[in-house]
Symmetry: C2
Subunit: 250 residues, 2 copies
DNA sequence: TCATGAGGTAATGTATACAATCAGTATCCA
DNA sequence: TGGATACTGATTGTATACATTACCTCATGA
């Protein structure tokens, strides 16, 4: 009953989009595979019109690729595509940080950022970080990055960063859970948090170049984690969208 | 007869998208105005399904904004939004140039770029540059930027740059025609072409930082032109999308 | 045995009918 | 007179029927 209410509370288009996205990221649909509308209609329960709408949106999101003759297929990504996507996201976040530093931010705007950082500190202080703490870190980290982006006060840039972060492995928190299985996990989080502190310090002191550089380096840390996580595939279930990555064997 | 053939050669969705885009950019639809589907059906001649498809695509393109209660409205841009969009495009092109420099490009890949530059040289050599030459410049400049972007050999980055350039005033050639009416026109083109030469030189010498910096500066030249063109509105008809720009009086 | 073409099937593209929701207005009650 | 509510119109969201196109298969010929 409650489930049906929830179902009705959002549009069929959104529901279809969520369902299809989950299927793609979880590997239910293989890269290169054509997505049949009728099949999607069956699995999502929506009719063809909202399904088509959802497919268009997923294409814009970057998970699907249009087939010239019509229809869509699941996109495949090389490891390099992903590294480049992370670098790109870092470059845009660097621009946002520089804008924030150059244009100045009020104490009031910084407050939620600092609070966020304090909360993260509370988490990374634990020595063996629990899985729950990792989960909490993911949420706080996403929040920090979103707040930082908004400090740029540039709607076009915010929009573009959101779009660049839409791919799960390009997003700031895409690999954090996958890291949790790594021995280097704790150290990586400490470094990341230090970078968080530094970028805020740079913005406060209006050091635009420094703020930009540190955000780029911050993204490179994520790229490093990605490589570690890909080599150490024991916990591949923690990495959404792993199924989309072309391995050398393909 | 030929017209009907052309009409049939592309889908109704694409036709509706082109028609609506033209209407938006030419000011036929005012910023903030809600776009009625039925009205769009009448003006485009397509039925509601392709019209809705076109509206979704135009939203992703950045020209429309979704209204929470449903439907779409024409987006409005501040002058700063546009300057930021240009800076963002320049930042991404800078990343592409750096990738090209760092990863290296073959002589064969550079050949079309250099040919493009030679053709541009032929145009800017004229002292009072004719309107036709300006037109040719726009095409060659767009070609140069596209080729340069491709030198990065990074599909995700190419895709993102294309998306960042979708807004007409953010595109590399968005303001060139508007410049043609300015007294500084010739000088600006000479400087721009010099920057084109420098970025290719930097890429050849694998100077990544230099290639990146020059592309950023190149975009700032475009931003300068924008400001000049906006102050000097005598030839505002040369500036597509001018109708979307919020002035201080709004 | 391979290539080419014709036919059929299954997919997507389009149009339209129907349902649901939102906005605006007018009326009624306090 | 002000506010709230119910009603009406219009607009968007959804489903489905129809048209068209692409792809696959099979057969026929070289």
């Amino acid at each position: 009953m409650a489930e049906r209410d929830i179902d009705r509370s959002v549009s069929q288009t959104v529901r279809a989009q969520l369902t299809l996205r989950d299927m793609i990221l979880s590997g239910g649909l293989r890269p290169g595979e054509r997505i049949s509308e009728l099949q999607a209609v069956e699995t999502t329960g929506a009719s063809r019109t909202p399904v088509r709408m959802a497919l268009v949106r997923l294409e814009e999101e970057g998970l699907l690729e249009a087939i010239p003759s019509g229809g869509f297929m699941v996109k495949a990504f090389s490891e390099r595509d992903i590294v480049d996507s992370i670098e790109m996201r870092g470059t845009l976040e660097g621009l946002a940080a520089r804008f924030a530093a150059e244009r100045g931010v009020s104490v009031r705007d910084l407050e939620p950022l600092k609070q966020c950082l304090d909360e993260i500190d509370g988490l990374v202080r634990q020595d063996p970080i629990s899985v729950e703490a990792f989960s909490a870190y993911v949420a706080l980290n996403a929040r920090f990055h979103a707040l930082l982006t908004e400090l740029s006060r540039s709607p076009p840039l915010i929009r573009q960063i959101d779009r660049a972060s839409a791919l799960p492995f390009a997003s700031p928190s895409g690999f954090v859970m996958a890291q949790s299985a790594l021995p280097e996990a704790h150290q990586i989080l400490l470094i990341a948090q230090d970078q968080h502190r530094i970028v805020i310090d740079a913005i406060e002191n209006r050091e635009g170049a420094r703020a930009e550089a540190i955000m780029r380096e911050h993204a490179r840390l994520a790229a490093r984690n990605l490589r570690l996580a890909l080599r150490n595939k024991t916990h591949s279930d923690l990495l959404p969208g792993l199924a989309l990555i072309k391995t050398a064997s393909d």
